[in-house]
Symmetry: C2
Subunit: 497 residues, 2 copies
């Protein structure tokens, strides 16, 4: 068994006898006090028995760590991640044109693992009510709430529709969708599609649970103006080059201070450039897009520094779905939060979610807000971490510490930790602060349980009440229980012979 | 006198007697061999006597270092740098509309300190010939060369016209000019203007000495298409917000992997966004700019990752001219190279150039080229270093090491060195890799001579023959002799009483 969290103290052996004795203490802190009280020095090493103290889990872990089938499956999974080529190909003007089972149905998709109405957090309630109003299924928020509570509206997970959504992640039938294909040309590629909605900017937004007339109006404007403009741009580009290469934008942005989860300043600017040139070539005399629609759209994107977030997420969804469903693989292919629970999916373990109560993000709060106002971790955006961005690539984004707190050294340290729990490095994603080392690639359930290091997620922080919106940014760790459950399931399924 | 290059070894004193003796050696390396031959360790410290070994210079230096008038003047100069607010206000469609003494005259501006025709490097010859052809003053390159050699064409320095130009830096009467005002609102501000030409992209360009029909054609296209489009955008923006704030773009770009001299990927993208939104609002029915002109322009800018370089330079020129002419100040306000000589101007020392033979840049070369092909350091672009960007902010741009060579640690080290030779830090320019420390601000002639640390310039490398173009990128140091000459002059002028 590996003990990868055990780093020996580096005191030179030859001088040990000349010095005041020092003590290296593994694990329990209580031993330290008596030594320091007598002037001794202690180097505490954080350590706990592998398997979270559970001997059966430790035994399962040992067998899975030594299983060459798992090792090989994880190599296949990470190769798929590395080779994936997410291309933005189209905008679907309505979600129900992509998903026929949504057509004419009262169905809402939401972020994270499944959750019942009564268990939802405030922002999720608010966003669901907003979506019902936006669709015109109810005339008032109270009536919308009653319908939702009664079960008149069906819910499903974005992830079950090859989709992801930030924060509450609500997608309703009328919403335009960003459509991305994994254009990986290798023979084993699935060329799977992935979908998401459009970023609403900051302030009062549906994704944070706001549902006032201004929020609904913006969604209608997406339908009428922004989505047709985006569609015109991407279809023009599709004819030229097969679409807009989202991984190329993500990869460049890592050299430009983004980790493309909580910071998307560079990626949005690069995306804006990719969009503007085809738009400048549109023939306004033909088609329904007007010059003023283009102006409004560019103005909106230029003012929305997180506009690329949804593109980054859907790119990662296209990448990670290509690595899903590989027998014996313990690579995490989705991490998603619904505002109360965080869930994982694992490549070799099918559609099952391994869930636990979400942690509260820690970070910096906008003026007037505090930690107690924070909603537990929420949204599908942690898909970016599973693909090696966000917390895995925090070292790329020192500027994010200005927003999310911590020091630049912390940012580097988070990424260094993530190498301990990933299968390999992604040569397509260079991290400048680490001398262009490839980003951590393929979060491995086994390594998380073995090392006790939980994946770091960079995240926006929503107010726990509906409609107030983003109140800060910070980091959160994925609950360990998600991984121990997944490990037990892997042992059950993979070691049954 | 300061001995700021003396860093004591950090061995703990208590253990010195238990160890094999180590030696700290200052200066001459010859002493080291006999110690290492006997198994001893030497910590060599680079040191040389202040004043470059000249006792008279050392005495001048000591007096200038202790002079409170110089200290105070340098504080004033750096406050001007920090407060400067370079706003892009306009495009002049012809240079001779800005400079009336150019009107109807055969006058070419060039980069760097003055240089006679016979002393010019190959690229400067090539670019001058190109400018003569572009202006229609001669029908063939041979006739243009003969005119130039004969003295039919007058030359002047860009810097004498409140202008800067990259590489050969040629500005001729028909060229469009970028016009920038220092909109610093403080009472002492000069609200000085600064000017530059437009970046031609990579490959065969006038600024590298190319002068074929393709080069001339591009310059004509600038006149007819690109410049009017840029003008339409900036005039629209001027009416809204007083122009486009170039220092804001530079400052953001430092958080995004640019040092805005040799790397301008983020700044060009941010600039592109600032440009596109007003362009999308143009009324094509009125005015001479067509939609296709806008499309061509945006396509050109999006493909030219160094497009912002000229904007960065002219921004720095506007900043540094505001700090020029302060009595007793030893702050460098211009560093410029003409391809053979590098020259400095110093705030308190008027228009005089302090010149020395340029060094050869060291770095990485494009395939097929090598160090022997390199032209000596050339261009006005080192104005960016005087304003705290480029080599001073190399720590902001780990990605530049991919182009210019060296490691990320080297990049950080260069910036750390620059703090040793600057007056203060610029709080408006944060360097993420140094925990958001302000960039080095105000290169001080005294500190350069005192420490022996020469300013680092990040630079493109031109082929030494005309017309081949850029062959690599790297770094170069400004010759020490420029600073010792300036110091002597400062002593003569400031200490005459």
């Amino acid at each position: 068994m590996k003990t990868s969290n055990l780093n020996a103290s580096k005191a030179p052996a030859s001088s040990l006898l000349d010095l005041m004795p020092g003590v290296v203490n593994l694990g329990i802190d209580g031993f330290n006090a008596s030594i320091t009280a007598h002037g001794g020095s202690v180097s505490p090493i954080q350590w706990q028995p592998p398997g979270d103290g559970d001997p059966a889990l430790a035994w399962d872990l040992a067998r899975l760590m030594d299983d060459p089938r798992v090792e090989q499956a994880n190599q296949v999974a990470t190769q798929r991640i590395i080779q994936a080529r997410p291309m933005w190909e189209d905008i679907a003007l309505r979600a129900d044109s992509v998903w026929s089972d949504m057509k004419g149905e009262r169905l809402l998709l939401h972020a994270g693992p499944p959750v019942a109405w009564d268990d939802m957090c405030g922002p999720m309630h608010g966003a669901m009510i907003g979506a019902v109003l936006y669709e015109g299924w109810a005339p008032t928020p109270d009536k919308a709430r009653a319908m939702l509570k009664r079960g008149d509206i069906a819910f499903a997970q974005c992830h079950d529709y090859q989709a992801v959504g930030p924060m509450t992640g609500i997608i309703s039938p009328s919403m335009p969708l960003i459509c991305v294909r994994n254009a990986d040309a290798s023979s084993s590629a699935k060329n799977n599609m992935a979908y998401t909605n459009i970023n609403e900017g900051i302030g009062r937004c549906l994704r944070f649970g706001a549902n006032g007339p201004d929020v609904i109006e913006r969604l209608k404007w997406f339908e009428a103006v922004l989505a047709p403009v985006l569609k015109a741009a991407v279809r023009h580009q599709f004819d030229q080059t097969g679409g807009i290469d989202l991984k190329a934008i993500q990869s460049q942005a890592l050299l430009m201070g983004d980790e493309v989860h909580s910071r998307n300043a560079a990626s949005t600017a690069l995306f804006f450039m990719a969009l503007s040139v085809p738009l400048a070539g549109l023939d306004f005399a033909r088609g329904t897009v007007t010059q003023d629609h283009v102006r409004q759209t560019l103005d909106f994107v230029a003012k929305t520094s997180q506009f690329f977030l949804n593109y980054s997420m859907v790119s990662c969804k296209a990448i990670m779905d290509s690595a899903h469903g590989i027998e014996y693989s313990t690579v995490v292919t989705a991490t998603a939060r619904n505002g109360t629970q965080t869930g994982l999916r694992v490549s070799g373990l099918g559609k099952k979610w391994f869930c636990a109560t979400s942690d509260l993000p820690q970070g910096l709060f906008f003026p007037g807000f505090k930690q107690e106002d924070a909603c537990p971790d929420i949204g599908d955006s942690a898909i970016t971490e599973t693909a090696g961005f966000g917390g895995c690539s925090f070292a790329a984004s020192p500027a994010l510490t200005l927003l999310a707190g911590g020091s630049v050294d912390d940012a580097v340290r988070y990424t260094q930790e993530m190498y301990e729990i990933t299968v390999t490095q992604n040569p397509a994603l260079s991290l400048p602060a680490l001398n262009f080392r490839g980003a951590p690639c393929g979060l491995d359930v086994r390594k998380v349980v073995d090392t006790g290091i939980r994946p770091v997620v960079t995240t926006g922080i929503a107010h726990k009440e509906a409609g107030i919106g983003q109140i800060g940014a910070g980091i959160v760790r994925v609950p360990m229980s998600c991984y121990t459950q997944a490990l037990r399931e892997a042992a059950t399924q993979f070691l049954k012979d």
